[in-house]
Amino acid sequence: MDLALSEEQEMLKKMARDFLTDKFPKTVVKEIEESELGYSPESWREMAELGWMGLALPEKYGGGDMSFLDLAVLLEEMGRACLPGPYFSTVVLGGLTILDAGSEEQKQEYLPKIASGETIFTLALTEFSARYDAAAIETKATTDKDAYILNGTKLFVPDAHVADYMLVVARTDEKSKGEEGITIFIVDAKSPGISYTVLKTIANDKLCEVVFDQVKVPKENVLGQLNQGWSEVQKIIQRTAVAKCCEMVGCIQQALDMTVDYAKERKQYDRPIGSFQVIQHYCADMVTDVDGTRLSTYQAAWMLSEGLSCTQEVAIAKAWAGEACQRVMALAHQIHGAIGVTIDHDLQYYTRRAKAAEVSFGDANFYREIVAQEMRL
């Protein structure tokens, strides 16, 4: 057993930390959050030049030939930096899905453009029920000669307003309500009939409502197998949940570090508040939660990376991370006192993101059910 990062991963981590610290101080994060675009095209290009978009893509598609585990390291740093923008959407939701399910032709067409930073991708999965089950998919795709026509509404689609392409999960067999008859499409996000509304969210990320009204999609844009898309969707959810966990590790690690620093600095009753035993125990609880999240997250990321089956490990990681984040942020606030509940303090960026991450791609109840199934209950 070896729980350490490789030398290469340590280097990647350090490079990412330096770059993100330099480019994304919280003043910049705030500006980007408040902007309509929700990302900085300039930094986007720089990240592409660093090879981050294609990090986990094969070299033949312009990628860096690194693994999902390597990507995990980078995502952790992005969580730590509260990086705003469509990196996650493009790389995790878009790129890795096409790599996994795309035809050779599709890979050749889309992956190099993702790796170069040329295109932005996202995934349109959830609908009004806001659930991650097959029954939730009501958006319809009906055939029309050599095309499909999409109709329906997707909710909570990240970065749809700036995306070039969307992977859209739709029902191609009207008779079925379950896992059968679901297909994933690669859709040009600027197609006629698509409209967006950016929702206002706690993380100030750009989650959108996307309405498809008679949207025409060429037949060759089916990703993976017709009517058999749900198993790929499950893989997407699994992969994305782990990727979210990586960001969450970064998020709570940073909240912990800030809090411990503050507990050493802040004095009340003529002593650092970190010398009060209750504060020490809080910090001890926090670091235990952070480490539990880190270990379970990296275990799942490693297994995914190795191509091992890891349904239970992923479920454990995300169920744990969601709630651990809440506990860590609650204690971080408690220790920071009033200064931490101001908008000008960095802590609130983490508080807001931790909440969004908790509910995205399956909350603890969702994954507890999966664990229960794994236990054969």
Binding site: L199, Q268, Y269, A338, G340, V341, K355
Partner: protein, 390 residues
């Protein structure tokens, strides 16, 4: 033993409910979370005052109603249940009036109490400073005697409602040479005096609620001193017991609880209302259990006050308990709302008017303001349980 309220008290509760429901029906305001501290509505406060519902517990000779603290709790409980905008008078009614009755001179009572009763005293609490939070006694803002005046210099922070206040209840150092607890005095001053500057602080919800208040060479008449010079800290401790005592530490987000229950009845999953799902039922029922336990704590505090004791460890217990409950309520609400829970009040598709979002962020401060939960538990451990100090 008798856990019942009297018939008059039940009638009083009904009267308050009728009043509040009537107000809502007329469209005068909408129920909201945190309305006791953020809902500033001078007209509402006037109407409450006209009913004699400010100063309910004060002696009749000072214009109060001489009623019990349990009566006041019934009143405030209903205000919170309906999310009524009572922020203009809440602080003055809760603690400042009582402090004046208790520690003030006859002249101060005659001058100040009628203004509170009329709902015209919007008081900001000027206690905390950047370096004096939990350790309030280390405060540095000074009040230096100069003939018939004191001259105030220094800074307060986190002053709730500071941008609306017309009075400041100020705690300042009057004897720099005495041990820190013994050189502090309390004042009530006019917030519009020259030399006072209020700077709003945007809080984590994005709202403006608390403020920095700067004092530069502010001259206040000596008659602003409340109680004994240099004994202020002991008066403050007593006042804090009252500040912590109320139902606002349990039910500030009651409108969210109500809306959440309604939401689970109206929202269907797989053809069935959420409220029929065992997991959701269990979660909502647990909140209800926790709320009812909290109410018992709160009523106990009021009974203690009616017995003529300051509710010291009792209000520490109820406040720490109640604020933790409110944080769980916000978390459970978002859990039930799922992805929708992250939508802000201004967003399309936001459920329960965004109250879950607001409460989640806002409740982070509940366990800090008016004494952090750690300080409150220290009080419990020392004063209630008699544990030794370190």
């Amino acid at each position: 033993m008798d856990f019942r309220l009297s018939e008059e008290q039940e009638k009083f509760r009904q009267e308050v409910r009728d009043f509040l429901e009537g107000e809502i029906k007329q469209g005068l305001w909408q129920p909201s979370c945190d309305a006791w501290i953020m809902g500033h509505d001078p007209e509402f406060t006037k109407r409450v005052s006209q009913r004699g519902w400010i100063g309910l517990t004060w002696p009749k000779e000072y214009g109060g109603q001489g009623r019990s603290f349990v009566d006041r709790l019934i009143l405030t409980e209903e205000m919170l249940r309906y999310g009524a905008p009572a922020a203009c008078h809440w602080f003055a009614d809760r603690q400042i009036g009582g402090a004046i009755v208790h520690y003030g001179t006859e002249e101060q009572r005659k001058e100040l109490l009628p203004k509170i009763l009329k709902g015209e005293a919007y008081v900001g609490l000027g206690m905390s400073e950047p370096d004096a939070g939990s350790d309030l006694a280390s405060l540095k803002t000074k009040a230096v005697g100069d003939g018939d005046y004191y001259v105030i210099d220094g800074q307060k922070t986190w002053t709730s409602g500071g941008s609306r206040m017309n009075w400041i209840y100020l705690v300042a150092r009057t004897d720099p040479d005495a041990p820190k607890h013994r050189g502090i005095s309390e004042f009530i001053i006019d917030a519009s005096l020259p030399g006072i500057a209020v700077q709003p602080i945007v809080d984590i919800t994005g709202g403006v609620h608390f403020n920095e208040v700067f004092f530069e060479n502010v001259r206040i008449p000596k008659k602003c001193l409340i109680g004994e010079e240099n004994r202020g800290f002991y008066q403050v401790l007593n006042q804090l017991d009252y500040e912590r005592s109320g139902m606002e530490r349990l039910m500030a987000n009651y409108p969210l609880f109500k809306a959440l229950i309604q939401y689970t009845k109206e929202t269907k999953r797989n053809g069935k209302p959420l409220s029929e799902e065992p997991v959701i039922r269990s979660k909502l029922a647990q909140l209800k259990i926790e709320l009812e336990i909290g109410r018992l704590h709160m009523y106990r505090v009021a009974v203690v006050m009616d017995e003529g004791r300051a509710p010291n460890w009792e209000s520490s217990m109820s406040k720490a308990y109640g604020t933790a409950f409110e944080q769980r309520l916000a978390n459970t609400a978002i859990e039930i709302l799922g992805l929708y829970g992250q939508l802000s009040p201004q967003s399309k598709w936001v459920p329960v008017q965004g109250m879950a979002y607001h409460s989640y962020l806002s409740s982070k401060g509940y366990s800090l303001q008016a004494g952090t939960s750690e300080i409150l538990k220290n009080i419990l451990a020392l004063r209630k349980l008699g544990l030794p100090t370190g």
